[in-house]
Amino acid sequence: MASPVILAIGGTGQHVALAASRLAFLGALPRMRLLTIDADDSGQLSKKLKSFGGTVNPDKPELAQHPLDDGERIFPPFDRGKLANPRFEDLLLDGSSKTWERETFSLLFDEAAAGISVNDGMFGQPSIGATIFGQNKDVQLKEVFTAIGNASYVIITGSFIGGTGAGIVHQLVHAIHTKYQTVKMYGIFVLPWISIAAATGATTRTVDDYGLKRNMQYGLHYFYKTTRPLLKASILLGASDQPGSAFGRVQVGNDDDGELETPLMLVAAAALRRLPEITVKQDNPHAVYASSAEDPKSLYGETFGDRTLAWYYSRGRYVQKILDFVRTPDFRKNLDASFGHLGFGGSGKNIGEGLYLAIEDYKKEKRGPNLDSIQQTWTQLAAQYDVSLTWLERVLGALPPGQVDNRLATLATGKAVTDEFQRSWKEPLPKVSQDRSPSDVAREFYQRLVADFEKRVG
């Protein structure tokens, strides 16, 4: 069955994607496919996104998965290996270029643009981003376009303020529309949300607040004229100018290349779910929406599907608490002890009967390493909860006590934790034709915790 695709463009797109990954991990967003396009795929932000906060290891994919399909990948808009530190001009002209091609290039781009070194981004020049995208999309982004063709719908997210996102976003919409006239497209476009002071001293930055505003204005001009009519609906989002607003701009230092945390990105991620829902209810083709909020904590009360964000947070903390218990060396002792001396005469009472039976199926000599793998899997899952939940606390503030779900509140003692997982893991796993890997076993019992949170009344 076709699934939705998120197209995250540039640095802002990566921020939205990271926020979306966290919400998806918590279950607030459905599983979607993520296709990230950015020239910068090796900075701190990119590493964080691809590894989901360091929890996904491409060498050990069985231990932890990215919450979004293909989330570990970033598609650069041009082949960085082809030329060492290319200038913009080098991407389009070479020794075989005819005179009229060079002349056309000189007409469309001035000397400053021609000489830009594009490896680390488009330096706030949307016209360059747009051109590079156009040149490479058929080869470099072939896989992206194939995925789009199989999507149930596509949401494109990026900013109008930088160079990469601002340049690529519009041309991407146009290219998708040209290739796939019937694919539903939505847009989540971010206007200035960061503040960059004029550069002082040595820095890699070449864009400042003035440049961001200018790019925004030109981007909006182009959006309303050309891009918006191709989209089913769009959301425009940006930092509030109200003094002291918690949704104000994030100050960017000279060489910041990591994640800049702001509740605005959670709003953008929420829009990934809400925008298609709104347009189903309101028949308003090519509508443009915006968002409003005062207090970030109020976002805990927002509904995702039929549950609030507070509920997903509570469930996350509930599961994380249990995982934090069962991944410990102490619990390992329980696991080992459950199988008795020399592996005979054991009982699953302390670890959950179902888990016991699943482990008992393994050959004795394999039990040790498999138990290691099971606990490693739970460790990574717990880490992923940490990545998601601590981020929520940082950008929204601590969950107000009145919104903490009772189930979480009851998990206050070690015995309560033990009772929970023993109950949840009592039933054996369904029989399957092939042996389950230890990571799969770990994941199955983890899923039971997630599912049981909803079933049990707190």
Binding site: L107, A130, V169, Q171, Y218
Partner: protein
Amino acid sequence: MSVLLPLWDEPASWGTDLFGSNDLLTNGGRQQWDIDLRNVAAMRDVEARALPTPLAWPGMMEAVLLRHDLREHVLRIYYRELILGILLGNLDVEIVDLKRGRLGAIVVETNELFRYFGIIRATPKLDRLKGTIFGGTSPDTLVWPSPRTKDTEWKALGDANNSDQQGNAKSLLSGFREILQGLGFWNPGHTGSPPWMAALDEVIGDWNAAGGRKLLDSHSRSVGPIRTQLGPNRRPDAIYLPTLERGFASKFLRATTGSLLEEPEKQRVVLLDDARVPQFIIMKPTGTDPGGDHMKLAGAGTIREDATPEKTTKLERRTLRLIDSPAGKGLLSCFPEMFLSPPPKATEVRRMPMFYPDIVRIVVTKLGESALPNSRVLFTPAAMENIFSEDFPGLPSPDELGDSKYVSSERWKGCLAKLPGDARQLVMLERLGGEEVLDLSALGMVLWLYFIGEANYENESIRDRRSVPLVVKESFVPLCPDEAVYRTVKEVRSSPGRLATLQRFVKAYSQGAEDIDQMMGHAAKAFAERTWKSEVIPLGHSFAEKNSVSLASVRISLYRDEK
């Protein structure tokens, strides 16, 4: 609740929902979101790079032209110089097919109307700057300035544009505008109207432009084409911009009496004079996509005069090399896609000349239907003689006659006859523009000489007493008087004693219902009134003799007076 948008003061109009919309968002947002365009004096201060498209500079040109308050913006100032430069021949437009290149493919995918792209560069008139690139073409603005041209180069162009021909250039542009106005396409400022229309209005300004159409028809050549959309519900058109060049049409037509040399490797056809010296170059791009208008959009049919300095010209023939002959290939078959498939309509070319390349525009404007393949319209050699004069207004089109067969207007005076048993139409002109042609008077003189017995029908021609043919026997134009008759009729004196005879002559030829009979009636009248210098009414007793004869397979009636 605060709206999460920059430069937004009002609270959310949608209540407490996290997401909502309102009219302001739907209709383009706040005014503070508009592009902050101001008058800037230097190209380096133009922030085209902020437009998210490879076509950022043309996009900026459009944005500036849409803002009528930005009169001092550097793009607007250079825009004017580009237009004047093209009009004055200081700049030329070279068309390239962008689809063939890497960058071009990106541009074409962004906007297909840019595929056939014009590079605007200096002509030899700008001396040392010859070949310097000044700008490019665009469907929204026609032209836009290059971001890399130096200030000194712009100054040189500005100085060259500030010539004593600038008034004529504006008149030429005014003629161009006048045609588009007549076609209903000129609606500057209206929804869907391209921004260049208002911009060209500004270039013309308050100039009292007279004679623009005449300049366009006879004293200009065209550059382009440039694709543009003339109105909101029209498919994109391709139009040519005019460049002033004194006598260009007549010089080109004259050159077509020479010979043609096809040079496909150089993508052109060259017109050579009798000494095989190149006179004109006609562009003929090769390797274009088949079908449709690709050849035309790639610049086929545009003409340049050969730039060899101090070249001589030797052209002694009078026959235009339009159709193939034993002497060589004709112009029409060198450009079959322009003339043959399908043939253009003369009335359309004259109505909308800027939609056609010069080889069609000039040939058809000047020669009308007679230039087209399988033409059924015949003009006499005497009429064709005038086509080489600089201000020749062009041979008339049968459509101009409507239902009438005879016209006496400011533009021309003459008669049209459908030849009996034939699809051909013979046009006899007495006057064309301000010049005498005297077809009718000359034919009238032949009929007069027969009427008074000083000529007879012998050997399939009408001959004088010395048996010299008064009508050319083997002309492709029936009833064509000999050159000598034309010379004589030009010098004819009044003949006071012959009024009664003239009246009987006119009366004899005033009968007959067929076109050819009526043409002969007009011929008789023209000669009589030229002789008498006043109107001659049909009067007196009837003719004494009527003979039906055949001239070049056309049967006519000849009348004799009483002896």
